[in-house]
Amino acid sequence: MSQPALTPVAVPDQEYLSPGMYSCPGCMAALAMRHVLKAMGPNTIIALTTGCWAVIDGPFPYTSVKVPLLHGAFGTAASMARGLRAALDIQGRDDVQVLAWGGDGATFDIGMTALSAAAAYNENVLYVCYDNEAYMNTGGQQSTATLPGVRTTTTTESRLLGIRKKNIVEIMAAHRIPFAATASIGYLDDLQRKVQYARSLKGFKFIHIHTPCPTGWQLPPDEGVRIARLAVRARIHPLYHVLDGQQYVIDLNPDPIPVRQYFETQRRRLLPLSEEELAWIQQDVDQQWQTLLIRSQCAAGPGGSESVR
């Protein structure tokens, strides 16, 4: 394991979620909110778009979130965050942080243009995408965050079609925002550091948290964290961040495992993959990792990045 690139921080004891949420057992999206809010602190307003989290919060008049939370239409987290920022700033409340929160469908798909605009205008907000790799609230349909090889309820072919998972962090980094990062529910320290660091920056910050979904992925409820860690080790979801769209830093590089080993833990959500197909996925993952390595080494200058040596 390598040195973390961001300074380590203590996880605050304070909780901003109440027990009794409407999440499924073992929900990683709920855990993600818990830890992001710990890092954000109480002076935060959440712009929440539709998805599982709109349900997890609980039905009116109940709520499980202790900071102000605005439910909104599907795909509008970034636009709502822009509105909140403007309203707070004009009222002299620039101390209040705005947290936009959306699933992968809300972020990669229906909210993409809104997200891109908020990033391009460098709005002073943090956008967090929790990624369970499908439209889970509607029962697990394919999104552009769905991994190749995964069978969703709307998958019509029993073979790979050369369709890749959209690389959302690259897209966000291309907006040259101050901070774009991946994170994983399997590595809470890293997540905590990233949120705390993002808070300290002005402008648009984006964190893509991998949150395996035991219900949707047909896993036992206590498997989420373990699977998330394996996804990082398989480099399906490497942990890194990009500063100003330029400086790439790999944050953790735990012992790698092949994609095959990762997939073996979740056979129930997969297509019957041929050796050839599996090799295509592995090759793709390796290529992306190489690109990441090169970028992070460029950023660190000759000798390579400290954090990946």
Partner: protein, 387 residues
């Protein structure tokens, strides 16, 4: 106060400035674009202290304004046609969330085929979203309706759509009174919402709601809209006392003794007015009913205005295909069950897609009305011969 010659778009922007809106989000679409451009200039020049969000779609415009309103800001935008349609989902949201947003819609026909020109098919399709709907005849009225809009919206906690006609208002200049902002301040106090998003007093807003409560929430919306009739009337009267312009929810013009009442909305009312004046001078008993509010619908005022009429002719610059003009349907349903229920209510479709409704058009309408035409189907005016 200053009287300035300006087009409807500039007048609408002044309305927003005088209302001291705090957040505006914008997206270009003709014939509305002049409004948000003018607002951007007012903000850039420091005349208006507000945040300007340049959005990437109308859907995002409304999403941003909803959130800004929830955080306690007075918010404004303007759109037209395709842009309004793209907002549709969020129009319901804004009303259901009970937010006092004011938006100007510059009426433009819905495509296909592509068109830029005026009719009400854009706004009519949003009739049932829970917003108040105000239709303006003149540029002054647009400016005034925005200021009045906030006054009403912030009391009943429902959003307001101010409509003015593309081209006929948006691009046509008229003298417009721009009031001193201090006078407007006395009429329209700062927005002070009962609940807003604030970490000092955390609330979760608009979480999932089941059948056990949803209907009651809709009933509250219904009550608010019913209440809006009186609030809008009062707001209009107070406005008239201070600024000298009052409009009512409807305007009955020469209706007391009228045998035929022409009913219309928007800029074509100006043409109807001219024809009515001319005909009355010649001793013809023709009146005009201008409908300014489509929601809440001024049922009582409509019934009263046509009490003496032998015939009512509604001129619609819109068509609900398969039924007829929407104002026609509204007037018919308002009269059903009243004392005037059996008077013929004729429905005329005119001026779609920006075709001019001229005094000649109105003459034709009057002539057809007198010829005992069918009452159960709309009558399309000035259609070209099919070749």
């Amino acid at each position: 106060m200053e009287r300035i010659i300006m087009n409807g778009n500039s007048a609408a922007a002044y309305g927003a400035v005088l209302s001291r809106v705090q957040v505006t989000a914008a997206y270009p679409i003709s014939p509305q674009t002049g409004i948000v451009e003018a607002l951007a200039q007012h903000i850039a020049s420091g005349r208006l202290k507000a945040k300007f969000i340049m959005a990437e779609s109308e859907h995002s415009v409304m999403a941003s304004l909803i959130a800004a309103s929830e955080a306690g800001a007075r918010v404004f935008t303007a759109t037209s046609s395709q842009g309004l349609a793209l907002m549709h989902e969020l129009l319901h949201w804004a009303a259901g969330a009970r937010l006092p947003i004011v938006m100007v819609n510059v009426n433009r026909a819905m495509s296909a085929p592509w068109t830029m020109y005026c009719d009400q098919s854009d706004i009519i399709a949003q009739r049932d979203t829970g917003w108040l709907h105000v239709y303006c005849e003149q540029n002054q009225e647009a400016l005034d309706a925005i200021i009045q809009g906030y006054k009403v919206a912030e009391q009943v906690m429902l959003p307001v759509l101010v409509n003015m006609d593309g081209y006929y208002n948006s691009y046509t200049t008229e003298p417009v009174d721009v009031y001193d902002i201090e006078d407007v301040d006395r009429y329209l106090p700062p927005y002070n919402p009962p609940v807003k998003l604030d970490p000092n007093e955390p609330h979760t807003l608009h979480g999932g709601t089941g059948p056990h409560l949803f209907m009651e929430m809709r009933y509250q919306m219904w009550e608010a809209m019913e209440h809006a009739r009186a609030v809008a009337q009062e707001a209009d009267e107070e406005f008239g006392q201070i600024f000298g312009h009052r409009y009512g929810l409807t305007e009955a013009y020469g209706c007391e003794d009228a045998e035929l009442v022409l009913v219309g909305s928007g800029s074509l009312v100006g043409t109807l007015r001219e024809v009515v004046d001319e005909r009355r001078e010649r001793g013809e008993r023709i009146g005009l009913l201008k409908i300014r509010y489509l929601r809440p619908f001024p049922t009582q005022q409509v019934r009263q205005a046509v009490a003496s009429a032998q015939q009512i002719a509604v001129i619609d610059r819109n068509v609900s295909v398969g039924m007829g003009g929407v104002f026609w349907q509204e007037v018919r349903s308002a009269l059903y069950g009243s004392q005037v229920r059996d008077r013929p209510v004729l429905g005329f479709i005119a001026g779609l897609g920006g075709r001019d409704v001229t005094p000649g058009t109105v003459d034709q309408i009057i002539q057809i009305a007198r010829s005992n035409p069918p009452q159960d189907v709309p009558i399309w005016i000035e259609l070209k011969e099919r070749r």
